[in-house]
Symmetry: C2
Subunit: 317 residues, 2 copies
Amino acid sequence: MYIPTFDDVKAARERIEPHIHRTPVLTSSYFNGLTGAELFFKCENFQKAGAFKVRGASNAVFGLSDEMAEKGVATHSSGNHALSLSYAAGRRGIPVTVVMPRTAPDAKKAAVRGYGGTIVECEPSTSSREATFAEVVAETGAEFVHPYNDPRVIAGQATCSWELTEQAEGLDAVIAPIGGGGMVSGTCLTLSNIAPDVEIYAAEPKNADDAYRSFKAGHIIADDAPQTVADGLKVPLKDLTWHFVSSHVTDILTATEDEIVDAMKLTWERMKIVMEPSSAVPLATILKNRAVFEGKRVGVIITGGNVDLEKLPWMQN
Amino acid sequence: MYIPTFDDVKAARERIEPHIHRTPVLTSSYFNGLTGAELFFKCENFQKAGAFKVRGASNAVFGLSDEMAEKGVATHSSGNHALSLSYAAGRRGIPVTVVMPRTAPDAKKAAVRGYGGTIVECEPSTSSREATFAEVVAETGAEFVHPYNDPRVIAGQATCSWELTEQAEGLDAVIAPIGGGGMVSGTCLTLSNIAPDVEIYAAEPKNADDAYRSFKAGHIIADDAPQTVADGLKVPLKDLTWHFVSSHVTDILTATEDEIVDAMKLTWERMKIVMEPSSAVPLATILKNRAVFEGKRVGVIITGGNVDLEKLPWMQN
């Protein structure tokens, strides 16, 4: 297992800079009043392809030798990593194949194809996905870019909190949502090197709290198919992300489904930004753990903005 | 009729600077590709109180002498001007009374009260509103701040396009929605002074196209209660705004209800920002008048972001 270093982050930043946005940091006097903290929202919902995932995907794609690149890249994902890898491969002009369950939303499939990606459908089960993916790789020789358990991906995600520390100086803490742990690992990698006193919090849906339980138990616990509105956060930690999470995270906090939806809607109303449910989990945990954050300068990573506007969670009751 | 000058705009900018946001300008490679133009979105949906109206309201409120301020301010509005005047009066710590039809949305009433405003309800008719408002002014001696036909308000709105010209250099055109014409008049006031070659377009719902017909006829035409999803744009031009519109506007373009809703939804999806239907009218007209804007650098003023998230227009069919 290769553990990426801050030199990898420096290389990533230079490599991906032409292909991504330096996203803005927004503040809200309303939310500062509500929480008693000073919050700095890093808006990766404005990122290319609509999510921070494009950082890691671009770093993987543009780091390939010409020879490797020729055979293309491949992944399995029905979420933002699929879009991001397709975007990055499209920018480099190389083939990309995404294995997706046939039940994935049409909008996501259309977005992958819009970026020039090829979709190979599998049944919505782990065994079908693995078998289908193995066939794709055997046939194309494509380079597998894992959604999070990949040093190139983590080094790419690490550029986000680096920008954040430049845009909001003197932070006391940073909080990000945790699913597989790619963003949190990148945050750990950056902050442990350039700002080791900054506390790192991870925020997780209570309905998919495998990272929380792993953190308390001291070893990886993986759940089978948890259900949460924060659909980007269902996947488990893996060895590389566990390394960072177990070494550098201060604490993991959880929020219920209602708390997540309320925080999401409140952000849309007050900050006028479109973000996905996963992105609302940090704010939901800040609102319910006032004592942890009060009086602190806190960076809050808003991870993505890809939402089905026809199916907003507060309208489904 | 006092016609505000660019000196008034300079004074306004200095006066309101501590109370408003210098809102960001966003770009979108997606929309540039779609339109063939280079678009610079001035995001007043991120403005204090959620709309550009706070510029004019703050200029009026903070320009009052202490003696006048003591008696407070008053207006009639069920929209963003009501919120903005309440916000500004709250910042100065003076009374504000808003006459609102009893049928106005509860959310708007709550927002006015949240900023410290007093609401006096009237029946939803012009006669009731005028009678009620006259009583309020007689009783309080409050200063009337008209939502748009007021030189202080126009000078305040004019600061928006001034910022825009600094944030996006070398613009060929600017486009803003038109209702009563406060924002467009401010835009005319600024650009005719500091960038007279920049074309000024106004965008209007076809269902409330009184400004369009006025512009073509050469005199003010006012409609009685037009119906459009762009509820900020129902009101007619008045003498002061007509002066600016008739002198400096290049053309007025219109869009249908469906075109407005489609442009609104597309902006939420692609730019990840929450904006109100009125704010989508400029983009809707750009999309249908490609030849007018192609190859140009165009400033697009997104006027506000106060939307009822429970009643999104694309969900009401």
